[in-house]
């Protein structure tokens, strides 16, 4: 269940309920791992906004997930700097080791992978985010060590 107190806290920050929609969707996504139709309906009820409004916003932004995600979300950058330093090789590695396709989830539900546009870490490329943790200076060995820390 969505923590109604947290929703109310969000609502208080904005002059209109509609303003609270983006953070409320983030809250729901954090709670459930993704935005299921039920999660969106819950946000709709909590904010007293039509379901269609919630769905429209949730489907507009790329960072809302509308398919179930694994326990940990890997977001890896493949833009220019990261690409030059071998990010694409890392993506292939994740596929070999965990069977992870970009946009997909490993069979054991442990990891989901998203290919990101630049995450602003070009000086320490290649880089990724795991959940909300920042991991720069990746190579094949390092990425495996890091990911083994996420069970």
């Amino acid at each position: 269940m969505l923590d109604r107190e947290k929703v109310r806290e969000i609502v208080r920050k904005y002059p209109e309920r509609r303003g609270a929609l983006l953070p409320a969707l983030h809250l729901a996504q954090k709670e459930y791992g993704w935005l299921s139709p039920e999660a969106m309906k819950e946000v709709s009820r909590a904010l007293n906004l039509p379901e269609a409004t919630v769905k429209g916003v949730a489907t507009f932004y790329a960072m809302y997930r509308r398919v179930p995600a694994g326990r940990h979300l890997i977001q890896i950058c493949t833009n220019v700097a990261c690409m030059i330093f071998g990010a694409e090789r890392l993506v292939d590695l994740l596929k070999e080791r965990y069977g992870l396709e970009p946009g997909g989830t490993s069979e054991d539900g442990r990891f989901s992978l998203m290919i990101m546009e630049c995450i602003g870490a070009c000086d320490r490329a290649p880089a990724m985010l795991v959940n909300e943790d920042y991991h720069p200076d990746l190579n094949e060995e390092r990425i495996m060590t890091i990911l083994e820390g996420y069970k």
């Binding site: 139709p37 906004l49 039509p50 269609a52 409004t53 769905k55 429209g56 489907t59 507009f60």
Partner: protein, 822 residues
């Protein structure tokens, strides 16, 4: 004021207007697809681009505010090229299925493509192949959609519903309900009128006619008292659809579902085509001559044997003013009886009485735009967006323009959901709520500052002493601090409005509510304009003004329908008391005792089934006439279609009976009657104020045996007992239901969709339950439209006009399943 030049023409305009608004006002045509007068500028379609001197880019006229000294061009080679390209891009994905599209011939996209070209596109892409989505009344063809978003914005911004949205992004965007489910909304159809292409259409009109074969005529809606102008589109003499025309009529083009889809009641299979005469207990079709001679003879007999005071008439809230005048004249001049009344007696008459008692006025027409610009508006236990949908929209519009709309209602109505604040009170406690505000206003001494004095002030002050915020909170169930805050907000506002409905179908408000509302407003120094109470139906107010009420001591509706033995003969025109009026059991007994019951209607009503003779009347579209709406405006109805069967206009029936009885009412032609009707004016009052001391009789009487309060009323898709004849409206809803709170459903073990048994001291009925959080614990809401539900067997009639909620007990239907007849 600013001054600017458009296409070489020097124009003065209000500061803050957009270029498009100014161009429109000056009859300069700029093309557009996504713009809608009612909505915030969107700037999505890029067709309204204009050149502004000194600006390097082309600007969208719809979203660019005009500035002083601007020099604007709306039609140049550069603009033509830009528009052509925009259209070219729109047509990449738009299917060219105009030959089978209902919009062809009146399609904005088609017209613009014709005007600007191109004849061939440079781009090719896969067109969309989404399946068409259907629903009870609205069809969506997603492939034709150009994603201008007008439907989405009309639905949310203007209607306050939000049933659909743009789902997804980029090429994959599509307009749909949240989860691609079947559309389940109000079915107002405003999205259909807003759609500039053929992506949205109405189901009843699909594949019925090419637009260029249609003939259009404007008329007035037969449902509620707003009196919207409907644009009827006919082919070969048959109405195929109804549209609202931007800017036309009191509704300025807005329509609700009843107005848009409900017209087809005139084509109902249940229409009467010939007079029916009961012979040996059975109805037989007879010709007019036989029916009229029978009626003339029986009325003459009864008049001679029992006297004219034993003959009465119940008129209609939906027949025309001209019909009403003739009924009244027939009764007064030919029969010599003043026993005449209408359903207004049960609702609007009490509102009028309440306002006369207090404000000293005999009429108080509403003003549709009254909520706009007010600081605070209170909506009191009234579902205005359902009963008077287009008036209801004005409250949303006002809210968008900064008015604080506060709704006090046990039901979670649309305005409760969309308004700025919603206070959930116990059903039937609006009166003490108003007493509480008045009490606080007196404590604040508002009336002293404004020097308000009128008869009854001291008594009012005495009577209100007990209605402290604490007491009001206890009675209404509203939090004390919240009540105090809202009350003070209302009292201290610069401008304010109170609104409520007092319909014949409603039982939670009454005369005492009107007194309480008027007391409060007078104390704050407000006049009648601050109290907005719309009349019920299309001609409720007209019937009242035309004299469908006792004027010289005759019997009123209570005396005729609820007093055993008061009449020997009753003439019912266009009303179905057995369905629409409370305590139907008593009415039925009294009707059965009559020596003569004449029912004149467009179909065989429940009341008609008890009649000795039934006369077929022409419907609203089949005769000339006029309605007086809740604003007091008389609006003319043209005759649009030919009459059904042998039916004739109500007024002609009275003219004919009078002739058969040897009386000439002096009226031969409609034109004479029209002139007579034109002379009707509302009565003035003394305008002398008087305060009425509190008279509320305490919380409605629930007992251990009857622990739940049943509230009755009208719902969004229906209106009285007329709308159930409409096939279209019945597609949305044709079955009776009762709304029950999740708490009570759990407590009484009632599942959604199950038949439940409702028992009041008057009787028992069985209705399907709808479990809904729109209703609080301890309350039921039941619409009265459906004859088969017989809800009015449970209700009581309030002879003094006071609110009379019905205490009931409920339970699962014994032996669930099987027929509901019990």
């Amino acid at each position: 004021m600013i001054e600017l030049t458009i296409d070489g023409k020097l124009i003065q305009a209000e500061k803050g207007s957009t270029i498009l608004q100014i161009a429109k006002a000056n009859n300069i045509k700029i093309p557009h697809l996504c713009w809608d007068r009612r909505l915030k500028p969107y700037g999505g379609c890029r067709l309204c681009l204009v050149e502004v001197e000194g600006q390097r880019k082309l600007l969208a006229a719809c979203s660019t505010p005009a500035e002083n000294g601007m020099v604007i061009k709306t039609d140049t080679p550069v603009l033509r090229k830009a528009r052509k390209t925009v259209l070219e891009l729109l047509l990449v994905h738009h299917p060219l299925d105009c030959p089978i599209c209902d919009k062809a011939g009146e399609c904005d996209l088609q017209d613009l493509a014709y005007q600007y070209g191109p004849s061939e596109g440079r781009f090719y892409a896969e067109r969309k192949h989404d399946p068409e989505a259907t629903s009870p009344l609205i069809e969506r063809n997603p492939n034709r959609c150009i994603l201008c978003g007008r439907c989405v914005r009309v639905c949310w911004e203007h209607q306050g519903v939000g049933a659909i949205n743009l789902i997804g992004r980029g090429f994959n965007t599509k307009i749909s309900p949240a989860f691609e489910e079947t559309l389940d909304c109000e079915f107002c159809g405003q999205c259909v009128d807003a759609c500039p292409v053929g992506a949205l259409g109405t189901k009843p009109y699909k594949y019925r006619a090419r637009a260029w074969f249609l003939e259009s005529t404007d008329t007035i809606c037969p449902y509620c008292s707003v009196g919207c102008t409907l644009t009827l589109d006919l082919r070969e003499g048959k109405i195929l659809r109804v549209r609202g025309m931007d800017g036309v009529g009191v509704n300025e083009g807005d329509l609700c579902g009843k107005g848009r889809f409900g017209f087809d009641f005139i084509y109902s299979e249940g229409r009467l085509t010939k007079p029916l005469l009961r012979k040996n207990g059975e109805f037989q079709e007879v010709d007019w001559e036989e029916a009229l001679y029978y009626i003339a003879e029986r009325l003459r007999d009864i008049k001679e044997t029992h006297g004219p005071e034993k003959i009465g008439a119940i008129g209609s809230a939906r027949t025309t003013l001209e019909d009403d005048i003739m009924l009244a004249r027939f009764f007064r001049e030919v029969l010599g009886s003043d026993n005449i009344d209408s359903s207004a007696r049960l609702g609007y008459a009490w509102a009028l009485k309440g306002m006369e008692d207090t404000l000293g006025i005999k009429s108080n027409p509403v003003s549709l735009n009254s909520p706009i610009g007010k600081e605070v508006v209170l909506v009191l236990e009234s579902d205005i967006t359902s009963t008077h949908p287009i008036f209801g929209l004005k409250f949303l519009e006002a809210m968008h323009e900064g008015t604080e709309v506060i709704v006090v209602d046990p039901r979670k109505t649309k305005l409760a959901r969309r308004g700025n604040r919603w206070l959930r009170n116990r059903p039937g406690t609006i009166t003490p709520f108003l007493y509480g505000i008045t009490h606080l206003a007196m404590k604040e001494g508002v009336h002293l500052k404004k020097d308000i004095t009128a008869e009854g002030l001291d008594e009012l002050e005495d009577g209100l002493r007990e209605y402290t915020p604490g007491k009001v909170s206890e009675l209404t169930g509203i939090d004390e601090d919240l009540f105090r805050e809202v009350a003070l907000r209302f009292i201290n506002a610069e401008s304010r409005l109170l609104t409520l409905t007092l319909g014949a179908a409603e039982n939670q408000k009454g005369l005492e509510t009107i007194h309480a509302a008027a007391n409060l407003l007078m104390l704050l120094g407000e006049g009648p304009e601050a109290l907005q109470i719309p009349s019920d139906y299309s001609n409720t107010y007209g019937a009242w003004l035309a004299g469908l009420r006792p004027l010289s001591g005759g019997k009123d509706l209570y005396g005729m329908l609820y007093t055993p033995g008061s009449l020997k003969a009753l003439y019912v025109m266009g009303e179905d008391p057995l369905v629409t009026m409370p305590d139907a059991g008593t009415i039925e007994e009294n009707l059965k005792d009559l020596e003569l019951l004449i029912v004149q209607d467009i179909r065989l009503s429940e009341t008609g089934k008890l009649a000795h003779v039934v006369l077929p009347a022409s419907s609203w579209a089949e005769k000339e006439g006029s309605f007086i709406n809740s604003q007091g405006i008389r609006q003319m109805l043209p005759k649009v279609v030919s009459t059904t069967g042998d039916s004739i206009a109500d007024w002609k029936i009275f003219r004919n009976i009078a002739r058969v009885m040897g009386h000439d009412l002096g009226t031969v032609e409609f034109s004479q009657l029209k002139e007579e009707a034109g002379k009707i004016v509302p009565e003035e009052g003394t305008r002398k104020w008087r305060f009425i001391p509190p008279e509320w009789e305490g919380l409605a009487r629930t007992t251990e045996e009857y622990p739940i309060l049943m509230v009755t009323g009208n719902i969004m898709q229906h209106s009285g007992s007329l709308s159930v004849m409409s096939k279209s409206l019945s597609h949305v809803l044709s079955d009776a239901f009762v709304q029950i709170s999740p708490e009570d459903a759990g407590r009484f073990r009632i599942g959604d969709g199950e038949f439940i048994e409702i028992t009041s001291p008057k009787g028992t009925v069985y209705i399907k339950a709808r479990v809904s959080d729109e209703i609080p614990e301890g309350m039921l809401f039941v619409p009265l439209h459906f004859a088969h539900a017989r809800v009015n067997l449970l209700t009581e009639v309030s002879r003094d006009g006071k609110a009379l909620l019905t205490p009931v007990r409920i339970g699962p239907r014994k032996g669930n399943g099987g027929s509901p007849a019990g």
